[in-house]
């Protein structure tokens, strides 16, 4: 194995996702190559540092999301029951309102 192949497989070697036979070949090359050994050390420490970078607790946006949901509830109805059902529902509501209006006269 040459340096170019070894360094091309370095990511998976460091992350332990390389098949055993390939990992053994990479290790054999690295053991005898100071340049690839140095690259391995750099990439390993960078990967460990990346995995340790902090997380932050997200603020609670539920109330805001809930308000938006209430405003867009009709979209949920359209997605769930389809456009024809939504048109049917809207028409039925309009007819109902018209009848109620006519009866009140």
């Amino acid at each position: 194995m040459d340096c170019s192949t070894s360094q091309g497989l370095m990511l998976e070697f460091v992350e332990g996702t390389l098949p055993a036979n390939l990992a053994a070949a990479v290790k054999q090359h690295i053991d005898g190559c100071p340049r690839c050994m140095q690259e391995l050390e750099r990439q390993s420490s960078r990967t460990r540092a990346l995995q340790k970078l902090g997380r932050v607790a997200a603020p609670d946006q539920w109330d805001e999301i809930h308000r938006s949901i209430q405003r867009t509830g009709w979209m949920y109805f359209v997605k769930r029951y389809g456009i024809p059902a939504a048109i049917f529902g809207l028409t039925a509501a309009l007819i109902f309102l018209a009848v109620m209006f006519a009866l009140s006269l």
């Binding site: 091309g8 990511l11 998976e12 996702t17 750099r42 990439q43 960078r46 990967t47 540092a49 990346l50 995995q51 340790k52 970078l53 902090g54 997380r55 932050v56 607790a57 997200a58 603020p59 609670d60 946006q61 539920w62 805001e64 999301i65 809930h66 938006s68 949901i69 867009t72 979209m75 949920y76 997605k79 769930r80």
Partner: protein, 206 residues
Amino acid sequence: MAGEFSDEHLLDEFVRTGSRGAFAELYYRYKDKAFNTAYRIVGDYEGALDVVHDVFLKVYVEAPGFLFKSSFSSWLYRIVVNRSLDEARRQKRRRRHISPDAVTDDVPSKRSDDSPDSAVLGREADGELAKAVSALSPKLKAVVTLRYFEGLSYEQIAEIINRPVGTVKSRLRRAHRKLGETLEAKGRKRGAEQKHGLLDVTGADA
């Protein structure tokens, strides 16, 4: 009690019965993951809040069309990543529009010392690495975030970004190369500054 149920069970319950409780449970399970992913990609606290808000609204509206072909988490991450990439593009355009001179690259917008962003960076063991990550392109930030901060497999990331596994690996390799270059350049700069400072002190003494 809802914690006993799988994400898919809760989603199914929400779609069948319209249960707000089931939807709220999904929100509280995933709000931190969604926010952290968005924050890393967008690089801006307020922008990340907007992304999370829009994502859960989209989940609410699109849930009836979810076919359960992938896991709920993959679907959610896909929406988060796509919306975050849109937000990052929008912010980049806006920064260019407002002040073309102020734009240098993809580095997140400037923050005040007491902003939540600097609080996050301050808590991190390696602030320089965090800054180097934030200087990556949004697409590279997305794979780095999903892999190292969210701990997802190459296959899960490939499903989320809708690209082959090979693309995920090549983006991770590119990200590592860029991070290495950035950190090395910073190290060299710091070394030169220290050397310069030493010479100044020596010069002052002489």
